[in-house]
């Protein structure tokens, strides 16, 4: 299990290849990658991601351990960036491996749902009109009820 909170970019292909290298009783690998998407008017210049050093790593580790135990995962990976990112850049990724596809899918969705609302990150969007904090969505909070 690897958790990384980092300012540097990551190479999705290399991460996936490394994650999927050691097979032991694994039939399914799922990855999710989050990318900075431009706003509807295409005016996003930068996304600034703030986080809570110390707590972030703890929260991500707890979330990943809960997913691993609940779905009996072979392995899990979480990478989340902070700092200034431009549209098209990868923000974060998770990967899960398990015996069967349903476990790998559900665990990856669980990781994402908890990352969205329970990991101490805050996003701010910078456009020519200024800076605006991204508001948490009710739908993201509601998504946790599934688990």
């Amino acid at each position: 299990m690897r958790i990384s909170v980092q300012a540097e970019s990551f190479d999705l292909g290399e991460e996936v290849a490394a994650f999927s290298k050691e097979y032991q009783d694994v039939g399914a690998v799922v990855t999710f990658t989050g990318i900075v998407r431009n706003n509807d008017s295409g005016t996003l210049k930068e996304m600034l991601i703030e986080h809570y050093p110390g707590m972030t790593e703890k929260a991500l580790t707890e979330i990943a351990e809960r997913a691993r135990d609940r779905w009996n995962l072979s392995d899990a990976l979480v990478i989340h960036r902070h700092g200034a990112l431009v549209p098209g850049e990868m923000i974060m990724m998770v990967a899960t491996s398990a015996r069967h596809r349903v476990a790998a899918f559900e665990a990856a969705e669980y990781l994402m749902d908890y990352l969205k609302s329970r990991a101490p990150f805050w996003k701010q969007e910078i456009t020519n009109d200024g800076a605006e904090w991204v508001a948490a969505k009710d739908a993201d909070e509601d998504a946790l009820k599934r688990w």
Partner: protein
């Protein structure tokens, strides 16, 4: 006690962290003390429903005890992922 602020809470209060000497027994009592300090605190803590709190880096509620606590953090709902 170390008190830290993130995102627009940090912006409204105007600093990322500070050391506070307090006799507050709970997070809610600490919030009352802070609100009474200055307008910028009153503004930052005007709607607790829009705030989240962590005590020693664990998410908790506003009625959490501060007994033995070293660090309290206030911030808006998180937007990771």
């Amino acid at each position: 006690m170390k008190v830290v602020y993130f995102a627009w809470v940090r912006e409204r209060i105007g600093l990322p962290k500070e050391d506070i000497a307090t006799d507050a027994k709970t997070v809610a009592e600490l919030v009352e003390e802070l609100r009474a300090r200055e307008e910028r605190y009153a503004l930052a803590f005007s709607d607790l429903g829009a705030l989240r709190v962590a005590v020693d880096q664990e998410l908790t509620d506003f009625d959490a005890s501060l007994d033995g606590v070293q660090e309290v953090a206030f911030f808006p709902p998180m937007t990771g992922g």
